[in-house]
Symmetry: C2
Amino acid sequence: MANKEAAWLDEIQWNKEGLVPAIVQEEGTNKVLMHAWMNREALQKTVRLGQAVYWSRSRQCLWQKGEESGHTQNVTEIRIDCDRDTLLLLVTQEGGIACHTGRHSCFFQQLRENAWVCTDPVIKDPKSIYPQK
Amino acid sequence: MANKEAAWLDEIQWNKEGLVPAIVQEEGTNKVLMHAWMNREALQKTVRLGQAVYWSRSRQCLWQKGEESGHTQNVTEIRIDCDRDTLLLLVTQEGGIACHTGRHSCFFQQLRENAWVCTDPVIKDPKSIYPQK
């Protein structure tokens, strides 16, 4: 890849682990679907494929969103913040399910009177999303 | 504070530094305004005050949003994700300006053809927001 093409990647303030947070927001509704992490390669692949690829901190590997579930994310826009240390992705969510629990968004718990309360329904049973597990 | 009141705080997966990311979203428009960090005390204060208080990693201190600029954030809803390691705050933004550059949102740069392009206008000159600096 030519230097010119990589310059925008060099302008990102990667943390000590070479990662930046990525906020994932749904095109149209603007709902926040999830929060993930990206390294340089994940972001490059995301741009190349037009589909979201993240870095899994727990598994220490690249992770194409939806590779098991089919719930891929088509990326329509990529933004960066003033400090250039956080990304914002606009996506269309395949299947309408971003969360591994089978819900639309990962942020399905709300703080109410000193307790986390589940407010959003399961759209699809995770057992049928991940039958091999 | 009684144990019962603190239980919801214990359920959060704080990282090694005792922090979690907080995505800040505007009530109504659902625009993502900024990405910040919170420790236990910042979140407790946020709940108590009804206004956003963050942990500044660069200054290593609590930081009430708007303490200098007046651009405080009234918190209307607090959510947590499936892994309980990321918060989502719904806020109304005083002055309509969340970014220290005088823009509505910190995510004012978009990736276009291998370059970060500024897409959002400055609403107020930072020099008049922070005259003491």
